[in-house]
Symmetry: C2
Subunit: 197 residues, 2 copies
């Protein structure tokens, strides 16, 4: 049974499908939108449409872009290092660190459980790129999760065969954390990777 | 500095303004939408527009409605009891309990701190309604928060002067909860409101 007018009910159902939004937050968002200025809501709707119409993936690195080739790939000052990430949001975070190399966005991670295979990701395109571009090093910056590690291993195996220098982000205890609350495996990795002072 | 194409950045900023969505979830939603079918995203956008164009407030009880008077208010089988709630989502929850009376949605609660006064809410309209409709009882179902209690007290004072029978939802320990985890004030209210068996 529907307790809301049909349009409201449909919108709630659509919002619920977005990541991180449950039934309660969908209801709260609709309530907010009902009270919000009409022009703001229409501008949000138009923005959603232009997202699908105008934003595409960079043909080189698969970053989001409004052009065929993204700003980072067209920047000639960038170093010939490729940082491989799972998602665009990882690229954005690494950009914020001041990293001056290029990227390659995989759009996911290998997962046998979820039936995501290397060919479902932008891995073939990475290999193709490495054949054509003169790259000094590949930094594999997939997440330190089981799936991210599997993906890193898979890419590392290929790069070894291609004889391309590659590295993995350091695993360790985060700045500002307390060792007491760090899990044992992270701590173990952090000891293994210790730096001589 | 913008790390995303302008359209993406703008959309993230707009999503961040929605309740319960922070910068991280806004990014995650945009990533999801990028990969989502174009037709689904456009249908979401259209739904947002029709929300603003077609959904209005019931002229009687201020429930959401696609007509001047909502389905509940036009239902002649409903009892002449008005349940006063802060938000439409409270109305929806009370409907699910099988309540067969009518409603009045205040669209908020009195809050001196947030400068929300009785006239900012649908309280004058409630009083007007009570003058014209033949109502047997008003159930004040505002939240048991300080603001909700203030609002309830304010309405109760008016109803006393108007000589209209009114009640407040029972405060007590929720079904399925463990007394160990209930706060002292709730427990106190629950003892005060105990039922003789």
């Amino acid at each position: 049974m529907n307790y809301y007018p049909e349009i409201v009910q449909k919108l709630i159902e659509k919002l619920e499908k977005l990541p991180g939004i449950g039934p309660k937050s969908a209801e709260r968002i609709v309530n907010f939108l009902i009270e919000e200025d009409e022009k703001n809501v229409i501008s949000l709707a138009e923005n959603l449409i232009s997202l699908k119409k105008e934003v595409k993936l960079c043909q080189k690195c698969f970053n989001l872009s409004d052009k065929e080739i993204c700003n980072i790939c067209s920047d000639e000052k960038r170093e010939n290092i490729i940082c491989v990430v799972e998602e665009v949001k990882d690229l954005v975070l690494i950009e914020k660190t001041g990293f001056k190399g290029k990227y390659h966005v995989l759009w996911g991670r290998i997962s046998m459980l979820e039936k995501v295979y290397p060919s479902d990701l932008k891995i073939p395109q990475l290999i193709e790129r490495l054949k054509n571009e003169n790259i000094e090093e590949v930094i594999i910056a997939t997440n330190p999760t089981p799936e991210g590690e599997d993906t890193a291993m898979y890419i590392s195996d290929i790069l070894k065969k291609m004889n391309i220098k590659h590295s993995r982000l350091a695993i360790g205890i985060p700045l500002g954390s307390e060792i007491e609350y760090i899990d044992v495996n992270t701590l173990k990795k952090s000891i293994e990777g210790r730096k001589i002072l």
